[in-house]
Amino acid sequence: MLVLDQIHTYYDRIHALKGVSLTVDKGEIVTLIGSNGAGKTTTLRTISGLLHPRMGSIYFEGQPIDHLPAHEITRLGISQSPEGRKIFARLTVRENLELGAFTRTDRAAIREDMERVMELFPRLRERLNQRGGTLSGGEQQMLAIGRALMSRPRLLLLDEPSMGLAPLLVDQIFRIIRNINEQGTTILLVEQNAHVALSIAHRAYVMETGVIVLEGPAAQVLASPQVREAYLGG
């Protein structure tokens, strides 16, 4: 469904991705783990078109997308819940969700999807008319995921959905992520919290300073001594 082939991304002169290749198949949860500054966020931003690779190609459902602007990539069916949530602080929760559905015109179905999001995250229902900036961190995370779902993506990119959340909430969010996947959405999940990510993913990639250093079925990666030592505290 998604193929990255030898992607090189730069921030001016900083070579952030040095030939990253990965694939995500339809129906999968694939996780991309790695320590701070490895290039995970850069990878997601390159897929979603906020950054463009200097070399390499990206294909989504067979179509090359690496030169498309971000808003067109969203239209193709890729949606991203960005690092740091990036909620529109001055817009209400409802408006944030409506913006998630910006590319769509099927009003009735949008309303249904909003219902579905509020069933996933009942907290959002009580806060619909509140400004996004007034939500707690956990609520903002729920809103970011909900907003990303509102475009009915076929591929959902999640950047550290567990960041800054209490353990109980982390479990809850990951249950929901699995739930979303079971309902048919393919997911590429970036996480620092390797343990939880590997426990729900089908396959995993491990990244270090701009290169993929390990890949395989999640269980296998979880068991590898390299990962146990580096990310799971031995």
Partner: protein, 357 residues
């Protein structure tokens, strides 16, 4: 788009405290001077209440027009963090377009016809002004600003000043220095008396039209999908793009809205001042900018409030301070200096911090 934008205002000059107190002292001095003039001159004259009322009405009329222009500054600033210094000249182009439409309907005889025809012609004249300004504003965005996006913030500002001069001197070249006279249709000459206060028809029409356009703008920004997209782009362009919003299109739409309002203002100012010429947009543009800063730049209700307030201050000021009306422009710019000294974020502007939960 309700408020000032993030990164801009949070970057503060770190002045030395002594300098700051000197500047504050100067501000206090100006305020004291103003108060002294009001007491010794303005109040001592003993003007009747009806006099002040009619000044107030003048102020509101002019303030309404300033508001339309101020909104253009504030909309563009809200999205691009850029002062579109050519905006006053965009308004002037609308004034010219409106003037030619006026000539046209004059020649057709519509403006001498029955009231309904006059009203229709006036609406079409305003629409023509809006069209002329929109064309200008959109072209400027495309040619003078878009190529500079991502450049340091001073760069598009300089481009805007260049665009301003370009527009003024192009019009000077084509139409010469002599002003074009806006001839009012006989039907809207004169006015009526309400409680001893004279209300001119033109003023009333201008004020009502301004309020109507402001309401339309408010509804577009707050209630439509495109308005929502504008507010999203104002907050965070990258994330807005992730929503599938074509940021460039939203920016163009913002210029269309701002320029349309300016075009309407240009026509109404033409009727108000009875003339339009190549530099007619300059001073009103600066005043509308002052109004936008007074309300809090980037803030839509702020631009409206700031402009009405500025219009009133400017109308009442000369009598209250005993300044000859030829010098009344000094009042608006004194207001600008005072806001920049005491409340740079404006009346309704939030003192913004970068923090987010």
């Amino acid at each position: 788009m309700a408020v000032t934008t993030y990164s801009s205002t949070s970057v503060r000059f770190r002045q030395k405290t002594t300098t700051r107190w000197l500047v504050r002292g100067l501000g206090v001095l100006i305020l004291a001077l103003v108060a002294w003039r009001v007491v010794t001159v303005g109040l001592a004259e003993g003007y009747p209440a009806t006099f002040w009322m009619s000044q107030l009405i003048n102020g509101l009329v002019l303030g309404g027009v300033y508001a339309l222009v101020a909104l253009g500054y504030t909309l563009v600033y809200g999205i691009l963090l850029m002062i579109n210094f050519a905006h006053g000249d965009v308004m002037m182009i609308g004034g010219f377009t409106g003037f030619f439409a006026l000539q046209f309907f004059m020649a057709l005889g519509w403006l001498q016809g029955p009231a309904a025809l006059v009203a229709l012609a006036l609406i079409l004249i305003v629409a023509a002004g809006m069209f002329g300004s929109v064309l200008t504003g959109v072209t400027l965005e495309r040619v003078a600003y878009r190529p500079l996006r991502g450049a340091p913030r001073l760069v598009p500002l300089i481009s805007a000043i260049g665009a301003s001069l370009f527009l003024q001197y192009s019009v000077l070249l084509i139409f010469g220095v002599s002003p074009r006279v806006y001839q009012k249709p006989a039907l809207i000459e004169g006015g009526f008396r309400a409680g001893g206060v004279f209300v001119p028809y033109t003023g009333l029409i201008i004020f009502v039209t301004s309020l109507f356009l402001m309401l339309m703008l408010y509804l577009i920004v707050q209630r439509t999908k495109l308005g929502r997209a504008m507010r999203a782009v104002a907050e965070d362009k990258g994330t807005a793009a992730l929503m599938g919003i074509d940021v460039d299109r939203v920016i163009v739409f913002t210029f269309i809205l701002g320029s349309a309002l300016a075009g309407a203002a240009g026509v109404m100012l033409g009727f108000h001042n009875t003339v339009v010429k190549f530099n007619s947009g300059f001073i009103p543009g600066l005043k509308a900018f002052t109004a936008a800063v007074l309300g809090g730049i980037g803030n839509i209700p702020g631009a409206m409030v700031g402009a009405l307030l500025l219009g009133v201050i400017e109308a009442i000021g000369p009598s209250a301070l005993g300044i000859p009306t030829e010098y009344k422009d000094i009042i608006a710019f004194t207001v600008l200096v005072l806001i920049l000294i005491f409340r740079p974020s404006g009346l309704l502007g939030e003192v913004v911090s970068e923090k987010r939960a």
